[in-house]
């Protein structure tokens, strides 16, 4: 079984986001970039499945600028066998990314495609579902547990009401929740080894897909600031404020 894992390079989750003064986006120059957190869970799960003997190859793929190669390289350092970078500049909407990934799926013919359930930059939560639609494959979104049963997967999904379990036939798409597993850190020897693993570079323009944006970003602004609050000295004062000042209890 072959697993393709899609990983995205995003601003690190610990970075305080700053909006550009000209309101065209957020500041990315000299900002720490990392793998989108739930994509780390996706890689981890694929590598664990390979380690259990149920998969033979894990391929990491990313779409983005040249530097997204670092994100692919990181996936190789934690156990992916080889990488693919689809080079494309500018804003990439999930529809465009899923069309590019569809081309890679057609070429690589994986049995499973894993990715994070949502990217923490644009917060769209679309790519996995869109790729499933384009391929007409089953989709298991927001997965917190995956069990492989022959040619099927049993997946536990986190939903608003609690948990849901579905059974899907392979080939399938799974989008991963942060609770799926605990991603490992890359060891130094594995980082060194990853440098020798191959990363195939493909220009998005060679895949014959229209990736031009369909959504015009008119402006990006700071959200309204909350006015500063106060510190209370005691529980009694807190209750008094809530009752008499805020009038919420």
């Amino acid at each position: 079984m072959k697993i393709l894992v899609a990983v995205k390079r995003v601003i690190d989750y610990n970075v305080q986001i700053r909006v550009k003064e000209d309101n065209t986006g957020v500041v990315t120059d000299n900002v720490k970039m990392s793998t989108n957190p739930p994509d780390d869970n996706a890689i981890e799960e694929a590598v664990k499945i390979k380690e259990s003997g149920k998969a033979t190859e894990v391929v990491a793929v990313s779409v983005g600028e040249e530097k997204a190669q670092e994100t692919v390289r990181k996936a190789l350092a934690v156990g992916a066998d080889r990488g693919i970078l689809i080079k494309a500049d500018g804003i990439l909407e999930p529809l465009a990314v899923s069309k590019l990934l569809q081309k890679i799926v057609e070429k690589e013919k994986p049995d499973l495609v894993f990715m994070g359930k949502q990217a923490i930059d644009d917060d769209c939560n679309q790519t996995g579902q869109m790729l499933s639609a384009l391929l007409n494959w089953p989709q298991a979104t927001f997965a917190s547990k995956i069990e492989i049963k022959d040619k099927k997967l049993e997946v536990t999904r986190e939903i608003d009401e609690g948990l849901e379990t579905i059974e899907i036939n392979i080939p399938a798409i799974v989008t991963c929740d942060l609770r799926l597993n605990e991603p490992r850190y890359a060891s130094l020897p594995n980082i060194m080894k990853a440098k020798k693993k191959p990363i195939e570079q493909i220009n998005a323009s060679d895949l014959g897909v229209d990736i031009s944006p369909r959504i015009e970003q008119i402006k990006v602004e700071e959200p309204p600031k909350r006015k500063a609050g106060i510190k209370v000295k005691s529980v009694a004062e807190l209750v008094q404020k809530l009752k008499n000042e805020a009038k919420v209890i």
């Binding site: 923490i120 917060d123 970003q217 209750v239």
Partner: protein
């Protein structure tokens, strides 16, 4: 062209956020139709027809719609969408799972989780966990939009009498089978719509200590929330998680206990009207959004808080 809202329901009743989605959809175009897809969902369809903002209900029924599997829902909505300019639903796990499957089939670039309708094609949406707001304009001929329910008021729920039309179901998608749903039943208000939310974080130290949160919630008739750290640690189940990848809540009062306030948590609660933080670390980022901060050991402060609440006899239900 009219707009099409996808109703969320449990085959008997509408889910509360359907009303918020109707409000948002009606701001895009008042000629609003709603589709309800399910199995024996006549009661819910009738309730949908009673929403005064809904001009027509389309009811699609089949056994394979019983459990709301997106792979079954998408084809029927894609077919109906021929006659509509917009397809709209809530950005909760139902809509997040479903809408992109519809959008890709329509070759539309979806606009997710909008918090404001500026015009029929232009919307405001939070990005980067709400640390920036983007104004975006969809250039696709058909729009697929999910709305953040807590950013729109629920619509009027009675007085309407829209006609209910039946539509043909699509074929079953055989590669996905629903197995089971484990819903956590509670008599408490729902987290997404509660007037008061009391949340615990890693500072609670154990699932057992969450009893303190429960006691405060009992006093205030509140829903119980949690940070991701608390859910990851197994103190409480995932349906309580508030934040960027959990639920977004906008209660009148949000009480954060033992929560440091990572930006991912703030994304889910910082629009609350009044925020209280109880934390022993005076530097915790939660204090930057709190209207009332109490720097104290929660294991001393919370029992006192419960005691003080006991003294009040005016707690609003």
């Amino acid at each position: 062209m009219s707009v099409l809202l996808v109703a969320e329901h449990n085959n008997k009743e509408l889910k509360p956020f359907t009303l918020n989605a109707v409000t948002a959809a009606s701001q895009m175009n008042t000629d609003l139709h709603a589709v309800i897809i399910g199995n024996n969902c006549g009661d819910a369809a009738k309730k949908l027809s009673e929403l005064p903002l809904v001009k027509k209900v389309i009811q699609v029924e089949a056994a394979h719609y019983e459990n709301f599997v997106a792979e079954n829902f998408a084809p029927v909505i894609v077919k109906l969408a021929e006659k509509y300019s917009h397809v709209i639903c809530s950005a909760n796990t139902f809509g997040k799972n479903l809408m992109p499957r519809i959008a890709a089939s329509l070759d539309t670039s979806q606009v997710s989780d909008i918090i404001k309708v500026i015009s029929a094609d232009t919307f405001l949406r939070p990005i980067y966990a709400g640390n920036a707001f983007a104004t975006v304009k969809s250039k696709d001929p058909k729009k697929c939009i999910t709305i953040r329910p807590t950013s729109f008021d629920p619509c009027e729920s009675s007085g309407g009498s829209a006609p209910i039309e039946k539509a043909e179901p699509s074929e079953e998608f055989n590669n996905t089978k629903f197995v089971k749903r484990e819903e956590i039943k509670s008599d408490r208000p729902e987290l997404g719509t509660a007037r008061v939310v009391v949340s615990g974080g890693r500072g609670m130290q154990s699932g057992d200590n969450f009893k303190l949160i429960t006691s405060v919630a009992d006093k205030l008739n509140a829903a119980i929330g949690a940070s991701r750290a608390a859910v990851d640690a197994g103190y409480i189940s995932n349906d309580h998680q508030v934040g960027q990848t959990g639920k977004v809540v906008v209660p009148d009062l949000y009480i954060a206990i033992g929560i440091s306030g990572a930006i991912q948590h703030l994304a889910g609660m910082k629009e609350s009207k009044v925020i209280v933080a109880i934390n022993k670390d005076g530097e915790a980022p939660i204090f930057s959004v709190a209207d009332y901060g109490l720097e104290a050991d929660l294991f001393e402060a919370v029992p006192q808080f419960i005691e003080e609440l006991n003294k009040l006899n005016t707690i609003q239900k």
